[in-house]
Amino acid sequence: MFLKISEIVVYPVKSLAGNHHSEAEIVATGFRDDRGWMIVDEQGVFITQRQHPSMSLIHTEVLERALQLTLPGLQPVEIPTLDEGPGPRVEVWEQPCEAVDQGARAAELLSEYLGRPCRLVRMSSAFRRQIKAKYHNGDDASLGFSDSMPFLLTSQASLDDLNGRLTEPIEMDRFRPNLVVSGGAAFQEDGWKRIRIGETRFCVAKSCVRCEITTVDQSTGIKGIEPLETLGTYRAGPKGVLFGRHLVHEGRGTIRLGDPVEVLE
């Protein structure tokens, strides 16, 4: 059956709400601006919805030279983008990254909202966060502040299958994909090794082990037990339950809604 791209989502700030697009450009780190920013604690360690589910209620927009933050109940605030300046040592899953602090205004707003001291940082433009060599073909793909891979692809057919097993259906946004493919059979993406979307080829590097963030209703910021419990009954893998596949781009290009997805291997 014909496979095509039905959603394109970019998450400028790690663990905040994502933005849907009709097309998105692929740069060295994945979709332009995807996880270009993140929120860190006083030690420089990343903060996510794992600790603060209400982060899902913060919306962002990337402007020309600023990041717009919209916190629940507040007017949007523009945070001028700083590409140079004091570089705190930050880490994602104990992997050090070079970053630029985005100033006091963002830190105040986010600290107030989360109830703990924190800072907004942007990945240094000179810094290249490497992807483990075994997951790609030696070209220059790298990644932003995402957990481990530049792209996450999920399947609408797989979500439909899962929703058929849940008492309360859930939205795709809980899985925080960059790309959603529609058409085909549920979980056929399990067997993919290489695909082409539009003109761009991707290595399908590994399955995504799902964490508790999937239990957060992204529109309310409230945490429950599903879908992890139900996924555990039929999607358990070696290190947790699996939903979605991580991709590494093998070039550049632009992905558009409706682009055909071709399975190469």
Partner: protein
């Protein structure tokens, strides 16, 4: 009614060295709750808040006394004290616990077990339960350890194990896995159960996935 999350008393039936760095601890709980293959208990000394998790070595068919393999960590706070217990002493236990690493006959008629060091303990329970519940099943039990002296009750189990000793043998890599497991890798009934240090698990999971073994038929449990 006693539940799996209640602490209860158990009597030490025996406590013997099982290899260079492990003891075999037999415990008779006051109240017995059935366990499944691959599960563990939390153990602690009476009057001590500090507990550790230990896998059950005995299969579900053998539930009293319960056998535990305890790795001795010289600077540990619990294992040296468990090692110092004598028959008749009492310890406290809570369990059986753990749902993610439970083998049942529904898991399939073929079995690949991959253990690293002290990670052998839950695999022994799975192995025995498999042998008793799957007639004419096919299985392979691979153990990686530094030396034979680092394998839990090696003399007792050596005939059932395919061993690789890291002090003298080449590393257990993809080619070696293919050579050992043969067509079990392509057996649609086969599931793979890996237990050991995190680095061992990562390597074995990656090897199996690269060999096209279905990811959803792999389970792992890390011993940190």
């Amino acid at each position: 009614m006693t539940t799996i999350s209640d602490w209860r008393s158990a009597r030490v039936v025996s406590n013997e060295p099982a290899c260079e760095d492990m003891i075999s601890l037999l415990l008779e709980p006051e109240e017995l709750l059935p366990h499944r293959a691959g599960q563990h208990y939390e153990l602690r000394l009476p009057g001590d808040g500090l507990s550790r998790k230990y896998s059950i070595v005995s299969p579900p068919e053998r539930d009293s006394p319960l056998e535990f393999g305890v790795q001795l960590l010289p600077t540990g706070l619990v294992s040296p004290r468990l090692a110092a217990t004598r028959p008749g002493d009492r310890v406290e236990i809570r369990g059986p616990l753990g749902e993610a690493f439970v083998w049942t006959p529904a898991s399939g008629r073929s079995l690949i077990l991959l253990g690293g060091g002290a990670g052998i303990t839950p695999l022994l329970s799975i192995y025995e339960h498999f042998r008793r519940s799957v007639p004419r099943g096919r299985e392979i039990f691979i153990m990686s350890a530094k030396t034979p002296q680092r394998i839990y009750r090696y003399e007792r189990y050596r005939d059932r194990l395919t061993t690789r000793f890291t002090s003298s043998d080449p590393r257990l890599d993809k080619d070696d896995l293919v050579a050992i497991t043969g067509d079990l890798l392509h057996d649609s009934e086969a599931s793979a159960w890996i237990c050991g240090p995190p680095g061992f698990i990562d390597l074995m999971v990656d090897n199996l996935i690269e060999l096209d073994f279905p990811e959803m038929r792999i389970r792992s449990e890390a011993f940190v």
